[in-house]
Subunit: 327 residues, 4 copies
């Protein structure tokens, strides 16, 4: 954490969205290039995660690079879209081996895009991998496919990092990579150094985790390769603006990263369905900058001493004093 | 409950869906006419609820009537789509009075469609009416608009029934008509005889209610105008196949309707994202027919006696004996 | 809200607790007099709510009054213990009419204690009134008893106020007075002026409500007779220290009270199982005083304007600026 | 699964309970010997899990053995009470090393009791190990203590099995051993063969898991050492009677055990706060015997084929046909 801290966002933050009700979308469609232009309007934003294929048009890598350069944006990761129609019943765990192969091919292409942009990782978000109903799947076989699919990619691309973004559910009723511990268990089974976790603050909250604990666990396993933040009401992945519901737990999350000397981009994964996306990102980053100031002010030794006694009242008072005077 | 019990479904049961991930949809788009043809393949299904405007094409009322007649289907209700893009910030509660007027006009048109089909009611599902963030809205003003909007329609169309389908949330983080009690409170304030509740079994579960209690409360207020069923894991409106997760509470729900001599169509509100929609509806109705047989077998007097003592063990044993021998 | 704002607490805040695991208690037992002495150590605390009967010994009203006077404490309400063993199957809704009568007698005694102390209200927290299992109760009869029991008390004691503290559940799996709307619906049915709501911030959160909205609704019905605060993770009534998890929604709650010019004591309902109870109360009140300063700083007109547009980003920025600079 | 299937229960099923409201208990206190006598009245119950120390009096092992023999009951496990007052801030993770040592000593004693009774395992339920507030603990240190404490016991007692019963929360707001995956991750780190999981069906449900998946995962890691069942509403550990809310998922759970040829006692972990405990256990076992009959009837090959296609409708129809005709 320092003045040169980088801030980033998933490029979908600047797209428009559909859901099962507003099938005509919460706004006119935007191309990835439109989204990049909006991202460029957010002060302090310098890094993006890109969906692949590039949405909204027939763009080459070079087109995208030009658009990014025009906004002074770099690429941190590529997110292959392994959750669209063809993958509705799963990517790594699809019952059809042909579709599993399609997923492998798409991710392999995305790996090349990572190389092209000099990005940090391929981000795997296997949201369609899981189940909906009791009795629907053979749980042992499903989990084996989840692991084997990622393991094969990591083995074939030893020069690249793969990060898994877990989530309890949505769009499946149960997602296969559902929690920090489940994902680490899978990663340990894969046993390769280039597979890690992209920890989404809101997914941890949604899963009943304490995000600071999730971060510590992933760090202690040497697997915290990336992270992003947002907020929600703990019952769903609302992807709301960071800091609007759980500012203290967000502060604890960054405190944990800082204490472990974890370096990396502070990313946003927000879905501003009905909000101006530039304002939503700017507002979140303004809060994150308050968090930075609060971290600079926080007495880490005093917090540690309170924690050694499990003294919540003292620890929280220190945290509140730092955070609630730093906006 | 009897051999002539009618079964129905929302016509969207037979559509395909999009969500924020599978933006290309869980299957090729279908028109309402395609959906009607699929509905016609479900044995025992004789009634549908139709979205308005008619989706997927430029259909007249007469086109739809012909398609329904060909399948032997009747219309129970019309659901105006007050949750699409233009209504993203609300229909009755939109901050823009012009959009509120648009909602009024669309629902007024839907009322005429109800008259045309001789249907039972206009169904209001104001899913975009609510809020997402703390501090976002003036709660008093929002609730007043929720009530006034429905009240105006009911006053202008005294020959028709309007039913409100409440839900805790989705797509808004908080929906204005969120629970059975909140909705009844609003209806009592409106004070007109032609406004009632369409009770969705899954919405009640999702809201932490016991659906049987919700039904009893609505009945005791004279406001249970319709109902539909499905299932979920209590944490979201999963719209899964009825009877696959909570068969006992579903049985208690129908037990309550029967005990009160409530007559009406047993409808489905399911979203079979990845399932064959005809199979999903058929399977649900097969379970509902098992529920019918179980009700015929259940000793109502013995259940009542156990309930008079709050004796859960005895009451449940009676219920299990009836239901788990009736499939 | 002003310099003379009074702060209060349920006296149980200063007791010790048992649960189903630590059956020997989270600390040595304390009498109500011990608890009053601890309450007296909290700066700015001037008002308490007392359980009745007085716990931990054979105390007269005069004993308690002397103990309170010694600490400079006043009584805001009396909470009859209608949730102990004899009431395990309910107080107002117990299947045994003799037990319902016992509840009535105990509350009637509590009413006299209210008169003795010149307190504001009898607080009804019917935690054992509800059900656990499907099919266990006749929901119509249960709700009728819930209403009749309160109505009888209110009719017999027109000189006193009765406040109902609703909660979704615990110790019952479903509580009869479960939500703000359900409680208002019951109160409207009772139809007497001296029955209102004691709104617990954490119970509203736990029930999926937005506490600010709950407060507005109760105010608009003329029924917000009291309130208390605490915090939780929205999935249970954790009764944690106020402001430690949801500071922004707590701020919105007080903003709503202030906007409506609601006057009353700001009370705590916390259960510091493993914390020092004086420190836990002091820490919460320190946060509430920060909330006071933030309210004084907040631009109410600008918030209202943002809310008129449902502009969450602007409204939240104003709120964050006020609150996060006021600790 | 067969005619000689053994059924068991935690002996606390036959105790009475206190909670933070009914501090005088949901019934008169019972000794462990009283509880054993009640357990003896349940047809088909032949195995119990005993708390240690023996509750309600000063009983020797021999006293207990005599009481068990009189009822024809065997002991499957011993549950040391590492969650009472002295352990309120944790057993393995208590901030005070002296208390951690006390926990070690108590569990070591319990190990001897296991040997005395020829039981299967020491059951560890570290319900006080965890945290309540953000910033309260050093998550890395806490987890290390969780693992080290269990590892030390397992190393010192290689002749015995230790089973960890995980749960998301209660009495702590977050429990350290919170999920099946987290617990397996810890067990793998410990790296000893005599540490496994006691899988509680309700804890898995409460944690958002599919219990059948949890069982499969534990089996695939060679760590499913025991299990028990009950039911709840997924939002809390209600410890209700098995089969009263989630009969289909319970059936899937036993289907998974049977498919993997897992042998072991089918235990109950229920807390019948307001019910007759003999009736509650008998009713649950009657349902489990229906599950046995349904398993005998189920076409495993057809289910497997449906699962190979992720065909929920077909798989569930097979399951419903078997279960809902077997009561």
């Amino acid at each position: 954490m320092s003045s040169e801290q980088k801030f980033g966002a998933g490029i979908w933050h600047f797209a428009t969205y559909v859901d099962r009700y507003a099938t005509d979308g919460y706004g006119a469609p935007r191309t990835v290039v439109d989204a990049i232009e909006l991202a460029g309007q957010v002060p302090d934003l310098s890094v993006v995660d890109l969906n692949y294929p590039f949405f909204g048009g027939d763009f080459t890598r070079e087109d995208i690079k030009a658009a990014l350069d025009a906004q002074g944006l770099e690429v941190i990761g590529i997110t292959p879209e392994i959750y669209t129609r063809v993958f509705a019943k799963g990517s790594f765990t699809n019952p059809d081996p042909g579709v599993r192969e399609l997923a492998h091919e798409l991710i392999t292409e995305a790996a090349d895009v990572v190389r092209y942009f000099g990005a940090d990782y391929v981000k795997l978000w296997p949201g369609q991998d899981g189940w909906d109903y009791p009795f629907q799947v053979d749980h042992g076989a499903l989990w084996k496919n989840s692991i084997d699919g990622v393991g094969r990619l990591a083995a074939e691309n030893p020069d690249l990092k793969f990060v898994i973004e877990y989530k309890p559910r949505e769009p499946r009723v149960h997602m296969s990579y559902s929690s920090v511990a489940r994902t680490l268990l899978g990663i340990e089974k894969i046993g390769l150094p280039n597979v890690g976790i992209l920890l989404d603050f809101g997914h941890a909250l949604f899963g009943g985790e304490s995000p600071a604990d999730s971060a510590q666990l992933a760090i202690d396993h040497g697997r915290l390769f990336g992270m992003d933040v947002n907020d929600n009401l703990r019952g769903w992945d609302d992807d709301m603006v960071a800091g609007t519901v759980h500012p203290i737990e967000l502060f604890e999350f960054f405190y944990t990263l800082e204490k472990n000397n974890w370096k990396g981009v502070w990313q946003l994964d927000q879905f501003p369905f009905r909000e101006d996306s530039v304002a939503a990102a700017t507002s979140a980053i303004d809060f994150l900058k308050a968090v930075q100031r609060a971290l600079a002010k926080l007495d880490f030794a005093a917090v540690q001493e309170a924690q050694d006694n499990h003294d919540a009242i003292t620890a929280l008072r220190l945290a509140q004093q730092a955070l609630f005077t730093s906006y």
